[in-house]
Structure formats: C-alpha cells, structure tokens
C-alpha cells in the first residue's frame, strides 16, 4: 500500500461514490454527508485559486533573478500587478466590493479581458480574406451553412429579405439540432466513461508526476 498514491485514489473513489449515491438514493445519512462534502469542496476550490499566482511567482521570479531573457522587466511588472490587486483587494477589508478595487478592475482588468478575445474578429476577417476556401467537399459543406447563418445574423439582410432570418432559424432547427444531439450524446458518454475510469483509479493523470 503506497500511502502517496493509494490513499488519494481511495479518497477520489469514496467522494465520487458518495456524490453518486446522493443523486440516486434517498438515504438521509448520504445526503447529509454529501452536504458537508459540498461545503468542504467550495473551501478547497477557494484555496486552489491561489495556485496560479504561486506558479507565476516561481516562473517569473526565476526570470527576474536570472535576467537572461531581455524581457525580464515584463515579469517584474506582472508580479507587481499581482501584488497591487491583492493589496487593494485585501487592504480595505471589503475585498472586491471596495470602490478602490472596482476602480482598478474596471480601469485595467476589464478592458484587456473583454478586448483580447474580442479582437479575434480581426483574425477571422483576415482569415476569411486569405485562407477560408472551399478547397474540398468538407469545407464546401461547412461554407453553405456558415454563409446562410452569417446572412441571418447580419440584421441588414433579414431586414430587407426576411427569408434569410427564416433560413437561419431552420438551419438551427433540424440541421444543428440533429448533428449536435449526436455529438452531445458522444461527449456525454465519453465524460461518463472517463469519469468512471478516474474514480476507479485507472486514469491517474491528475496525480501529477510519478
């Protein structure tokens, strides 16, 4: 019995089975136990939120100390950002509800986060111009519905020809409804079987290195 691997695998199995029994049985003891597990789970997930920052301090701290790479000042700025958000967040005692914290969030975090993924619209446009070609039958099929959905999503066209709106609604009916139900069944079964493999200890990637 290797207490470094077998006990954690036993914990995973036990907690997983209690969660399943809470769903399929009406035993009060199981439900009460799982309520405690849920509450503990929330606290543990909260504890885990800091792991990213510790990892960043290790990686970027090394970059600053070694100064090998030319961009080490960016690493210093990154760590300074972590410290600033934590100091302002915890300093006032009101956490994220203090006006100072709302200020730095809305001035710094919100604009970058909302813009970075939105700016992918530029790549898509350039991609449409340079590489999106109906080069084979697969891509041709994809383009038929893509173009009609874009037409339906562009208010200019349904406003002038309402048929484009109804074509889009129809595509999202049987075409999307059918294929994606088949895909969803596949994803669901895949998640269940993989989940079972993990609960019984056949899938141990989450334990990290040997």
């Amino acid at each position: 019995m290797d207490y470094r691997r077998d006990i954690p695998l036993a914990i995973t199995f036990l907690v997983g089975v209690i969660a399943v029994m809470d769903y399929y049985t009406t035993l009060k003891s199981v439900t009460d136990t799982f309520t405690v597990i849920k509450n503990w789970g929330v606290v543990l997930y909260a504890f885990a939120l800091g792991i990213g920052a510790v990892n960043l301090f290790r990686v970027h701290g090394r970059r600053i100390s070694e100064r090998r790479r030319a961009d080490w000042p960016f690493s210093a700025w990154l760590l300074l950002m972590i410290v600033m958000f934590v100091v302002v967040g915890l300093g006032t005692g009101q956490f994220e509800t203090s006006s100072q914290y709302e200020w730095i969030y809305n001035a710094i975090y919100l604009p970058i986060d909302s813009t970075m993924y939105a700016s992918l619209c530029f790549y898509m446009s350039y991609g449409a111009y340079k590489i999106l070609r109906a080069r084979n039958f697969d891509a041709f099929l994809l383009f038929i519905t893509a173009i009609f959905v874009i037409l339906g999503n562009t208010p200019l066209f349904p406003a002038t020809f309402p048929v484009f709106f109804h074509i889009r609604e129809w595509i999202f009916g049987p075409i999307v409804g059918g294929a994606y139900r088949g895909i969803r069944i596949g994803i669901g079964i895949g998640a269940v079987v993989l989940g079972i493999r993990t609960l019984v200890g056949l899938e141990t990637g989450y334990l990290g290195r040997r």
């Binding site: 939105a118 596949g186 989450y206």
Partner: protein, 207 residues
C-alpha cells in the same frame, strides 16, 4: 465631449493595446498581456481569500472545529511545489477530483444520454408536413452523426450501414458551419462593445 476621467483613459489605452496584436506583435501588447495575467492571478487570490473566510472560517467561528481539517487540506494543495513532499498535494486534489467528477457524471448519464435518446425515440410525424420533414431530417442527423462516432463495430462502416457514417460526417460539417457563423457573430458582437466604449465613453463622439 472627450472624457476627463482617468479610469476611462487607462481603459481606452488597454483596449487599444490589447487590439494591437491583431495588427502586429509589439511590446505594448506584451505589456498589456503581462498586465492581464498578473491582474487575473491577483483577482483569484482576493476572491479565494474571501471565499475561504465566508465558507470556511465562518464555520469555525460557529464552533464547527471539523473545518480545521479543510484548512489543513487547503494548505496541502501548495505542497505541489515542494521538491520532496509534493505528493501531499494529492490528498486535497483527490478530494476535488472525486467531488467534481461524481457531481457531474451522476447527472450526465441522464441529461446527455437518457433524455436525448428518449427525445429521439419520439414520433416522427407532426402537425404540419413541414414539421414532419424537419423531424425526419433531425432524426437522420442524430443517427448518422452518432454512427460517425462508432469506431469498433466493423458492420457500421461496411455493408448495409456503410453509408450512415459518411452522411453523418456531412451533417456534422453542415452543423459546424452554423457554429462558425455564430462564432463570427460572437467576436464582432464582443468587439463592437469595445468600439462603443472608445467612441462613446472615451471620445464622446456619440451620445
């Protein structure tokens, strides 16, 4: 009337900086990317500490001493960085993985399989012939897409049912086209919000 609020000016700067990568990789973008990674990690800590206080420490204050066990498990999470005792981190992670998987797959078998098959096993005919036509197309879509993802059953790919996976692939590609169209709308819809911010809230060109 151009905004005089420093918050809006900083937000406008970062909005432009985060967009600049699309044009060409540059140091201003690298600066905003590193700002974002740091801010995000800092925010996680703030919300983590608040959650530990409200959902953990509150219980200890009410006298439930058992919650000290949770605090110890929480600290053990950080042993993953320790050279020798990294394996201690496996105990809390095992608890989270067991909880996370158990709570999810217990219902997935119902929502993703039973309910979906029950719905497909419904009547094909409907009130109008158009609805019946749609039901049949949806029915074919589900079954052929499903057959495309069957890999260990030879009979499904040769002989009588050989055509099913091929049509399944076509139906999937048609559906992916709709997903592509909607992704275009997502990106443009999101960025239009930022353009609105720059033109209205920052430059005040529009009311």
């Amino acid at each position: 009337m151009v905004s005089t609020d420093p918050l809006v000016w900083i937000a406008a700067f970062y909005t432009i900086a985060a967009t600049s990568y699309a044009f060409r990789d540059n140091t201003i973008f690298k600066f905003s990317e590193n700002t974002f990674i740091g801010a995000a990690a800092g925010h996680l800590i703030v919300m983590g500490v608040k959650n530990v206080r409200d959902f953990g420490w509150a219980h200890i204050m009410k006298g439930e001493m058992i919650y000290w066990v949770v605090f110890v498990l929480g600290i053990m999470l950080y042993f993953r960085f320790h050279r020798k005792y990294y394996w201690l981190y496996r105990y809390p992670i095992a608890f989270l993985v067991g909880n996370g998987i158990g709570i999810s797959i217990r219902a997935a078998i119902h929502s993703d399989f039973i309910v979906q098959i029950a719905a497909t096993a419904g009547p094909l005919t409907a009130a109008t012939t158009f609805d019946t036509f749609n039901n049949i197309i949806l029915f074919i879509g589900v079954l052929t897409a499903l057959s495309h993802f069957i890999f260990t059953f030879e009979g499904m790919h040769r002989g009588t049912l050989g055509w099913a996976p091929k049509i399944g692939r076509w139906m999937i590609l048609l559906a992916l086209g709709a997903s592509f169209g909607n992704t275009v709308m997502t990106r443009f819809g999101q960025y239009s919000g930022r353009i609105l911010y720059l033109v209205r809230d920052w430059l005040g060109v529009v009311a």
